[in-house]
């Protein structure tokens, strides 16, 4: 019991947690009553940490003291409520930090687990003993004695070096992670941190550019979602243009040239959502936001591009060829209606090979011009030649 020492229950970054168990009692040797009870035991790669409930201080047992772990056989009564582990310990080292008990006659201690006992725990603990991680990655300051140093094999040194570097990078990631989550806690803090955030995200973005493929997809997505929630658009494309309007102008030209042929193929008119999907599919990685698409389409007319945006009365937005005009549409639709007698939007869509939405818009503007009249009944909405106006 005198091998225990007062210690900080917070885990060192180099420590790995093996198991966490509640309601653990510690018995000194064969004692009938527990010296410590009602505590949480955390087994790590370096030590066993014991924290009594309600207390912020902890006790720890350095794993290098552990010689052997043994499961205590259940008593003859056959009914034991708690599992017991026997930990055989080596002699305490001189200069060991102070602990709860100064002198103990027993060389072993017993741990009793009430509930949540994992039967793989002794095996895991033995495995940690085998690894002897406290030798390769010490967690105490140099003034205190650690385990007696063993001969370092050259192979081990190399692993230590890379592992150490990896740990450092991990620590940096954690620090940036912490700073980002701290920023989100308080909006005011966020505003003041925004500047730092932008610089930080710029540097990470550069790293991404360099390390293409080494950072996993998940991380990239996570990072981009951070940026989005900060309100910073994808920095990669913004860098390409000098100012916002320039960006949108270039975008407008790009969209116009990309979609011109496709629009011609499907009859001179394409709904904006469809155009948006096609443009983004063509772009592949540098996707457009809907706002950027809309802004770019709105300035198409002023730029004199062959494709322009048109907004119908119903609110439907389409991209159409600038050469395309309403008069033609009205004329052709009116003629079509006269030929067949009457049309619903669905029928016209089928005949002209376009979407129902666009066919309806055609019929509506023809009606608006007085060249068609509507028949609205439970059978549906049908358009006839406007005999009500033209005849009689």
């Amino acid at each position: 019991m005198d091998r225990l020492e007062y210690d900080d229950p917070i885990l060192h970054p180099k420590e790995d947690e093996i198991a966490k168990l509640r309601n653990v009692k510690i018995y000194d040797g064969d004692a009938k009553s527990a010296t410590f009870e009602n505590g949480e035991l955390i087994a790590t790669s370096h030590r066993l940490v014991y924290v009594q409930s309600g207390s912020s201080h902890g006790l720890s047992l350095r794993l290098h003291y552990l010689v052997y772990v043994e499961e205590e056989k259940s008593s003859g009564f056959g009914f034991s409520r708690s599992k017991k582990l026997l930990l055989h310990l080596s002699e305490p080292l001189p200069g060991k930090p102070p602990g709860p008990v100064d002198r103990s006659s027993c060389s072993f201690i017993r741990l009793s687990f009430k509930d949540g006992y994992d039967s793989s725990f002794p095996n895991n603990l033995s495995a940690a003993l085998q690894k002897k991680k406290w030798e390769t990655a010490p967690i105490t300051s140099t003034s205190l004695p650690e385990a007696p140093p063993l001969v370092q094999l050259p192979g081990r040194q190399l692993r230590a070096g890379i592992v150490g570097i990896e740990r450092q990078i991990q620590a940096k990631h954690k620090a940036t992670d912490d700073s980002i989550s701290l920023a989100f806690e308080d909006l005011n803090k966020l505003m003041s941190m925004a500047k730092d955030m932008v610089l930080l995200s710029k540097s990470i973005s550069d790293k991404i550019k360099e390390k293409q493929g080494e950072i996993s997809d998940d991380e990239t997505v996570q990072f981009k979602s951070y940026l989005l929630s900060l309100g910073i658009d994808d920095p990669v494309t913004r860098d390409n243009s000098r100012s916002e309007s320039q960006y949108h102008q270039n975008l407008a030209r790009q969209i116009s040239s990309a979609l011109q042929d496709q629009i011609k193929e499907i009859g001179g008119m394409m709904t904006l959502p469809e155009a948006y999907c096609r443009v983004n599919r063509a772009r592949g990685l540098e996707l457009l936001s809907p706002e950027d698409m809309l802004k770019a389409c709105q300035i198409m007319a002023s730029l004199g591009l062959p494709v322009t945006l048109k907004v119908f009365d119903s609110g439907v937005k389409v991209l159409h060829l600038s050469t395309h005009n309403d008069q033609n549409i009205i004329k052709t639709t009116a003629e079509a209606i006269e030929e067949s007698g009457s049309y619903t939007a669905e029928e016209l869509a089928q005949v002209l090979g376009m979407s129902v939405l666009l066919a309806k818009e055609r019929l509506l503007i023809t009606e608006k011009a007085g060249r068609a009249c509507r028949d609205d009944s439970i059978e549906g909405l049908r358009f006839y030649p406007n005999l009500l106006l033209e005849k009689n």
Binding site: G370, R374, S377, Y384, N386, L388, L389, K391, N392
Partner: protein, 172 residues
Amino acid sequence: MQWPWQYDFPPFFTLQPHAETRAKQLSAWRSIVLDYYKHTKESTLDVREAQSSPLFFNSTINRKLSQEGILLILENLQKTGNAEPLDKTKNRWLIFWKSPEEWGKLLYNWAQARGMTNSVCTLFELVSGDDTTDEEFYGLDTEIIIRAIRTLEVERKAEMMMYDDNQGVKFF
């Protein structure tokens, strides 16, 4: 009843959104309503029941005019003095396929021709009596007769009288 070509044209039964078309549509409906009432010699219309009448429902093409449309036509007729709502709810209407003044003239001419001036006759006699079966106003709604007489009252050609629970009129 001779239905015009519009009666068999399905869009005629849908209120057109295009202003010009709607104007022409309403004017066509006006004529149909007045002709129908002239033909059936009826004078009242209840909006709630009108949708089942052949006037607003064409069973061959299975189309009927909406209540909104019917009300619009009636209000249009009201503006030209051809219809009048009988109550505030605008559910029951009087249809004047002849204006009250025209009816008044007819009544007075009949009275003069029969030598009924300076004598009294009941309204019942006018619309359902044996003497008037050939007249246009035979079977006319009492309400309309009353209004016709009112126009005559203005010209001092007649006067409404009440006697023995009967409504009557004296021609001068």
